[in-house]
């Protein structure tokens, strides 16, 4: 736990994003387009849950309580992380948007004055290279075909602006105190440029003009969150005091 409440809130939001995406990726075991993809999604899901666990450990000793035991309004996840993505097209697009965002977010913490956070960021950033490489390689190959363009373009253009929520929330004082080396606004700009550059390779454009979403960061949950959370706690709730 940091004495800086804003720093704690930032870490909580990041952890909740990772928890939701890890949970969502785990849906894809054994039902991906081919076995190598089943393996990749399962492996990435484990990494994301590992990131969530590491980040939660900065805030609490009771990891399962902080991960699963809070009232819905106390979660800080972005709505794009909560999105169920039960079609593989949106699962792939969210994976790319999420991991490109993660890359930027971890980079901003690598030399954090919150030493434990910097340590976690260093390990996670190394893992992210593989996630990003996996997502981008697959997305680029698919977008290079007419069928892939047809299937993926609209999902990309639709979901990308929602990804701005990864950078929503307060970072007041965090750059000054050295918790972050880059403000959330600057991180967001870096991420948007990466998306723009990627899409430009395929002559696609994202309309960034709308109001960036931020409700998730302030306690409003998306419709999908209940489904996600109900599954997370389905067994724990049978006997909350038992050791499972």
């Amino acid at each position: 736990m940091s004495p800086d409440e804003t720093a704690n809130e930032l870490v909580l939001a990041f952890a909740d994003d990772e928890l939701c995406v890890g949970q969502n990726h785990s849906w894809w075991i054994a039902v991906g387009p081919f076995l190598e993809e089943d393996l990749a999604f399962t492996s990435i899901a484990q990494d994301e849950l590992g990131h969530a666990r590491a980040l939660y450990s900065l805030l609490s000793d009771d990891l399962d309580h902080i991960a699963y035991g809070r009232p819905h309004q106390e979660y800080r996840s972005s709505h794009i992380a909560e999105l169920l993505c039960h079609d593989w097209t949106s699962a792939l697009v969210r994976h790319v948007l999420h991991d490109l965002a993660e890359e930027v977010r971890w980079a901003a913490m690598l030399d954090s004055t919150w030493v434990e956070l910097a340590t976690i960021a260093t390990r996670a950033a190394a893992e992210e290279q593989f996630h990003v490489q996996h997502g981008l390689t697959l997305l680029r190959r698919l977008l290079s075909t007419p069928e892939g363009q047809l299937r993926l373009s609209s999902t990309l253009i639709d979901l990308a602006p929602k990804g701005r929520e990864y950078f929503a929330g307060s970072d007041s004082g965090l750059v000054t105190s050295g918790i972050l080396n880059t403000s959330l606004a600057d991180q967001e700009r870096t991420w948007m440029k990466r998306i723009d550059d990627l899409l430009a390779e395929f002559e696609l454009n994202v309309d960034w003009s709308g109001e960036p979403p931020s409700q998730g960061r302030y306690g409003t949950r998306s419709r999908d969150f209940s489904t996600l959370h109900d599954e997370m706690v389905a067994v724990l709730q049978i006997d909350p005091l038992a050791n499972w």
Partner: protein, 306 residues
């Protein structure tokens, strides 16, 4: 390339502990038998991943969820390796094997035709089913005459050993747990005991070619009996009962004797009409064909690059 003048000479080679490799001039009957065996193993690993999938999102707590994910990743990884070993035999491609499985033309192990109804069912799969599968695989590994399969089994067995120990740890937790947990675990044992026993199959035939060709090294009934002798005491020690009214212990040698097995449920699974066969196969089939465009597009992208 090694070759043999006739099947007798080939069998002498196998009896002397010879190991067959894919570039040998493999006699057709052996090639087909070993292919069918590995294909069924691969199918079962794949369907095993699907069987456990239902409860991974519900796994209680971060640690259990990550462990469950790692286990399923292992199962899918085994399927992946085994399909490649089977494909190298030149009878079917991996795509053909998956398609045959999803169209109901080939088979997978009986245990994966059942539904996982609860978290403790998931534990029973890890503890009872994986242990039965591990015992069978160890028996194949011990004396396996097909080189690539033996090498893959070395890794599969190590990983399945972790799964079984993970299942054992969770079973013991339920044994010492609350009344609700103990009751849930008992219900799961009631559901999974017989399918696990049946996993070994009916007694081996006297002229079983898989034994003769050293693909298998032990008779089904011997493996089954060893499993019973190990698991009955473990379950009883956990305060559980075994769902077999005629189960008894021999006064003289202390060995456990189970009642005669009704093989009809096993036969049903071999015809893909087990309790959860149609849902299992149709879920996998829908996912596979929904994603056909991905496979086609990636093939197109590869061709365009070439």
């Amino acid at each position: 390339m090694r070759n043999w003048r006739n099947i007798g000479e080939f069998e002498d080679f196998l009896d002397d502990g010879g190991i067959v490799e894919p570039n040998d001039d493999i006699p057709d009957p052996y090639r087909k038998a070993v292919f069918r065996f590995i294909e069924m193993h691969a199918n079962s690993e794949y369907m095993g991943g699907l069987t456990e999938r239902d409860w991974i999102p519900k796994a209680p707590g971060l640690h259990r969820k990550m462990t469950a994910l790692a286990k399923s990743q292992d199962e899918i990884g085994h399927a992946h390796l085994l399909y490649m070993v089977a494909a190298d035999l030149g009878i079917k491609t991996r795509e053909e094997m998956v398609t045959d499985l999803l169209e109901g033309r080939t088979h997978f192990h009986n245990v994966f035709h059942y539904r996982v109804h609860s978290w403790t069912d998931q534990i029973a799969v890890a503890y009872l089913v994986d242990a039965a599968a591990l015992a069978s695989q160890q028996a194949v590994f011990k004396n396996c005459s097909y080189g690539p399969y033996k090498r893959i089994l070395r890794r599969v067995i190590v990983e399945e050993g972790f799964h079984m120990r993970n299942g054992e740890e969770m079973m013991l937790l339920m044994a010492r747990g609350t009344d609700v947990q103990h009751q849930m675990m008992q219900e799961s044992i009631n559901r999974w005991w017989l399918p696990s026993i049946q996993l070994f199959g009916p007694d081996s035939k006297p002229d079983d070619e898989l034994l003769r060709w050293h693909i298998k090294s032990e008779r089904n009934e011997d493996l089954r009996d060893r499993y019973v002798q190990k698991f009955v005491p473990q379950l009883l020690a956990g305060g559980f009962t075994i769902p077999d009214q005629d189960l008894r212990q021999d006064n003289e040698n202390g060995k456990w004797k189970i009642s005669d097995i009704d093989w009809q449920p096993l036969m049903d699974t071999m015809r893909n009409i087990g309790p959860d066969s149609s849902r299992r196969i149709s879920d996998a089939k829908r996912a596979w064909y929904d994603a056909e465009w991905v496979r086609t597009a990636l093939d197109d992208a590869t061709k365009a690059q070439a």
